[in-house]
């Protein structure tokens, strides 16, 4: 597979992401500068972690106005596969490609630690190699990961199965003490309705090699490879379901 990894001024997980795709998994990955206006040709595009444009105004807010995100919107609407990790997730929220918003962590702290997340949805390009309810151990590193959606939006994302991951304890139980940032409903990751756009706060690229303490993150990239190799949506899913990213 051939993956585009977007580089904003202030991205700092772009090299880690390319390293996993190229060196650990043996696929192709290219850096895509934030002024790029063309994304066609990539099997998927990843927005990596960091502090795009210094996170001035709000995390991800200025990045959402960049040329590459304008191109990303077209790419996503055309059915392109998009993953946002940490700051990349914040950019997807600010760009309206996923519903909700991020608030500062309830602890007031920048949290940098391993957490556990439970897989809530496996029919997406980024989770299809996982099992439903599987617990992944991945690191977080953020100050603004407190996911918020107003009550109607929250109800809508539940009804549309848009919660991709929830924070949980090592046994998979969702509990306040296992929620590192105060996220509504312990939400750690969100998917678009059809699942082609996914964002999550934990860093799979920092947990894809045993030397780093966990290999669970590889499942995200292995899912993507499996999805692309299989040619996209499984048989029986209407083709039209493949197109369209949505905020709602």
């Amino acid at each position: 597979m051939d993956i585009g990894v977007v580089v904003f001024p202030g991205s700092n997980c772009d090299a880690d992401t390319c390293h996993v795709i190229r060196d650990v998994l043996g696929h192709r990955a290219q850096y895509v500068w934030h002024e790029e206006r063309q994304l066609a040709g990539f099997d998927a595009v990843i927005l990596p972690g960091g502090f795009a444009y210094g996170d001035y105004l709000r995390a991800g807010a200025i990045a959402a106005t960049s040329p590459v995100v304008r191109a990303l919107r077209e790419y996503a609407v055309a059915g392109g596969l998009v993953l946002g990790i940490c700051n990349g997730f914040q950019v997807l929220l600010e760009a309206g490609l996923l519903p909700g918003a991020m608030c500062p962590n309830t602890s007031g702290q920048f949290r940098c630690e391993f957490v556990h997340i439970r897989v809530e949805r496996i029919d997406t390009p980024f989770t299809c190699a996982m099992t439903s309810g599987q617990v992944l151990r991945l690191p977080i590193a953020h100050a603004e990961g407190n996911y918020y959606a107003d009550p109607p939006t929250h109800q809508a994302i539940i009804a549309r199965r848009q919660i991709a991951f929830r924070y949980c304890d090592p046994r998979g139980t969702v509990a306040p003490r296992a929620n590192p940032n105060g996220s509504l409903d312990a939400i750690a990751g969100v998917a678009s309705r059809v699942g082609t756009v996914v964002g999550l706060m934990p860093h799979p690229e920092r947990a894809s090699e045993t030397v780093l303490g966990s290999e669970d993150g590889r499942l995200v990239f292995e899912s993507l490879d499996r999805w692309i190799t299989a040619g996209g949506f499984p048989a029986g899913v209407p083709v039209s379901a493949g197109a369209g990213a949505e905020a709602g």
């Binding site: 105004l57 807010a61 918003a101 500062p104 962590n105 309830t106 007031g108 407190n146 918020y148 939006t153």
Partner: protein, 91 residues
């Protein structure tokens, strides 16, 4: 007024707009709480509550629809209206 080319040029007044963005009531204001704790630690008595926010001064040409444009700027960019409110003053 005429430019060097002799065309009539309309001089457009510049208006200054003061904009304050803050988290909506009900959305946890972690920075505000941390600041209040800091005031406690410094020994300021009777500080009941602190709300943190952002302040912007925007200067823009007065094209007759300044207020409308300020709302567009706030709704579309300066505030994330899912979690933030804003207020403004046009000088």
């Amino acid at each position: 007024m005429r430019s060097e080319q002799g065309e009539r040029v309309r001089t457009m007044q510049v208006r200054t707009v003061r904009i304050v963005v803050s988290l909506k009531p009900g959305v946890l204001d972690a920075p505000g709480q941390a600041i209040r704790q800091g005031l406690d630690a410094l020994g300021h008595p009777g500080v009941q509550h602190v709300r943190a926010g952002k302040y912007f001064e925007v200067e823009l040409d007065d094209d007759g629809r300044v207020e409308e444009r300020v709302r567009e700027i706030c709704d579309g960019f300066l505030a994330n209206t899912l979690i933030e409110d804003y207020r403004y003053e046009i000088l």
